[in-house]
Symmetry: C2
Subunit: 416 residues, 2 copies
């Protein structure tokens, strides 16, 4: 047996593309990913990512929870576990949702690897190649990416200050049905503090949406990563309270606890749950047991609620700082949404500026970054003069400086 392999040997390069699925050939790398590569120098102020503020991660609570779990349930927490998730955590999430009027039981809850995995499972279970999804324009980049991988297509409705314009749903549905011979797989909605738009779907529109989708017999995917991060105004009940029978609700601990644990969840009708469990089993058997036990310990000790309360104060200040800085430093002809919560706002610049071109030619020179708006349009039919700005990650003084730099760059570009 020859064990003396030459580690410095030349390894031939194969034409892997010829072996791949049609699915893979259609995959695109995330624009954010490519952009972040350009923005990794430490002197660049980046509003591009969607990162929570790391200085507020509840390290002590996580530390204590790890110790508790290892001491009390060490062996169980490190073993294989059920695909649907850890029962006490499912109970906690069902109870929590119950408070908002959702008739959810633990059997309606599935733990996922962040809500990105929920989007992936939705693709797996609902999207045949060429099938359409209805969503707003702009919409969440991660959803576009997840469903592109299943060769899904998008038909979009406009988004205004009150969120998705739900009066356009019926027309969009008819158009898809006519073009594709099949109805859309579902409608994807980000009701609270929309990523990237920063808008919130009004209660009136939620009621209207529920009415329309019931008439059309259309499933609803309600993605709500930021619902608990509200900084002003009143909570609006989720869509799933109105039509639990046809809503797949997605939640996550990424923005309230920590994204590095990768914990999200799906709440959906029990009759559908079995399919998600089967799909998840093939995807990764189950969500990490240890992370679920640790998170459950934090939740059951009642540490999450005050932590979220604290985050609300911190992020409210950052949002206000960004809004004030935009007012102060940006030129005439710019505007932005005033989100009541979440992590992002959506800024519009004069139509002479293409935010994709501006990014490379002006913003990077001033050492500041964002995500150009076009990336949030699945059919690339808008967002050319818009950008997404994150206000959760950078401390207030950095936000002021970054917005100032963008203001300088905008003024220079406009003066060209």
């Amino acid at each position: 047996m020859n064990m003396n392999f030459d580690l410095e040997r030349e390894v031939p390069i194969l034409e892997w593309e010829t072996h791949m699925s049609a699915r893979a050939k259609g995959m695109k790398s995330s624009a954010i990913r490519e952009l972040l590569k350009l923005t990794s120098q430490p002197d660049i102020i980046s509003f591009a990512g969607g990162l929570p503020a790391p200085e507020f991660f509840p390290l002590r609570a996580v530390d204590e929870a790890c110790r508790h779990v290892i001491k009390e349930n060490g062996a169980e927490a490190l073993q294989y576990s059920a695909t649907e998730g850890y029962q006490p955590l499912k109970e906690f999430l069902a109870n929590q949702t119950h408070k908002y009027g959702v008739p959810a039981k633990p059997e309606n809850v599935l733990l996922t690897n962040g809500s990105q995995q929920a989007l992936d499972l939705l693709g797996k279970v609902f999207i045949d190649p060429g099938r359409f999804v209805l969503t707003g324009r702009p919409t969440y980049l991660g959803a576009i990416q997840a469903w592109n991988a299943y060769q899904g297509r998008f038909h979009t409705m406009r988004v205004d200050e009150e969120g998705m314009i739900v009066d356009e749903i019926e027309h969009a549905y008819e158009k898809v049905l006519k073009e594709n011979g099949k109805p859309p797989a579902f409608i994807y909605v980000l009701p609270n503090f929309h990523n990237p738009a920063g808008t919130t779907l009004s209660w009136k529109r939620r009621e209207k949406l529920a009415e329309i989708v019931t008439k059309l017999n259309l499933p609803v995917v309600e993605d709500d990563p930021y619902g608990q991060l509200r900084y002003g105004g009143e909570d609006i009940p989720p869509i799933c309270t109105l039509i639990p029978e046809r809503t797949i609700y997605l939640g996550t601990f990424s923005k309230t606890l920590a994204p590095g644990l990768r914990l999200g969840w799906i709440i959906c009708p029990e009759v559908l749950m079995q399919r998600f469990i089967q799909a998840k089993q093939g995807s990764d058997l189950h969500t990490p047991t240890f992370a679920q036990y640790v998170t459950n310990d934090i939740c059951q000790r009642g540490l999450l609620k005050p932590h979220i309360q604290h985050l609300r104060g911190v992020y409210k200040k950052r949002r206000d700082t960004m809004l004030d800085a935009l007012e102060e430093f940006w030129p005439e002809g710019c505007s932005c949404t005033h989100p009541e919560g979440g992590l992002f706002l959506w800024a519009k610049v004069p139509e002479t500026i293409d935010t994709n071109v501006f990014f490379r030619e002006w913003a990077l020179k001033e050492k500041v970054a964002y995500v150009p708006g076009v990336n949030f349009y699945p059919n690339a039919d808008g967002g050319k003069h818009a950008m997404r700005l994150n206000f959760s990650y950078a401390p207030p003084e950095t936000i002021v400086e970054g917005i100032r730099r963008l203001g300088v760059a905008l003024k220079k570009a406009l003066a060209e």
Copy 2:
């Protein structure tokens, strides 16, 4: 705004099936999953699962690692991180593999949520609906499940004491090409301590396989979850040492450290890596940061190697106990593989016994469980008189009692 929802209200049940993808309609629940439901009573001795022995999980090492990580890198470990994985852990894995003759660099490593996610990503990147995969019969159940979800099909070669009969590959390839008009997407091999067969692919056959797949221009998926758990004989270098340019190697910490962390990895050519990263980004953004930091801490402190050394002793004893008990308690006409490592052996019973029927009618009555062989045949064309037995989970005295019970049941069934 009406917030007074009736939580006890009747929620209508929709016909979700009509909304689903063709993919979802073809999904089946894992047989193991259904069986485990039957075996959850505490008085049943189950050899059905593939669980490591929980009493040997390195709780202290994990405890210390959690403390180190939170103290030294808390904020980074709880934040979003790179899709490809944590750099120091990638370096560790590349180095480790390097020792076996693989010219792997950190850029060739991708961290996954257990190796089940690696199987899922393979499906996503390589399997178009109806596309064939070549593999042995029997083969790993989790792979069948992962690729069924992408509507893959299987063409199989026989497995004997030396592992997959590689002389059958070329014929199988030709048959697939003729039937499908396309070559198989790849060949899937479990070279070490095969799950479920317990056999090891000889060095001679590895060389032959490398030669054949190179001639056919066929990618190889080398799944090696148990390679480090060898209890006798000599290590055999992995296939990827011979043909790194066309091998996608899968490893995991599930059997050596703990499955509840859900950490596996892919080693593959860099030109292919980009696609896996894209696929994984859409699937779940990245593997949990915290689990990677904790595992890396354990690896870098050199705690994994002695732990594996310890496990080898424990599992060797359990394997030997099971082999001795089989010898002692089972009737004439039965046989089994003598695995040199891993967690499973494959037992054959007389042809008058169908192990699926026997499971429900005899084994459960004697309070003992296993996985019937047919579940490991993707085309259900064998395994009717075989079963997979796990020897890692139960302590020796339980193994003896369980095998005795199976012996009693077999004798009763044969006397019918």
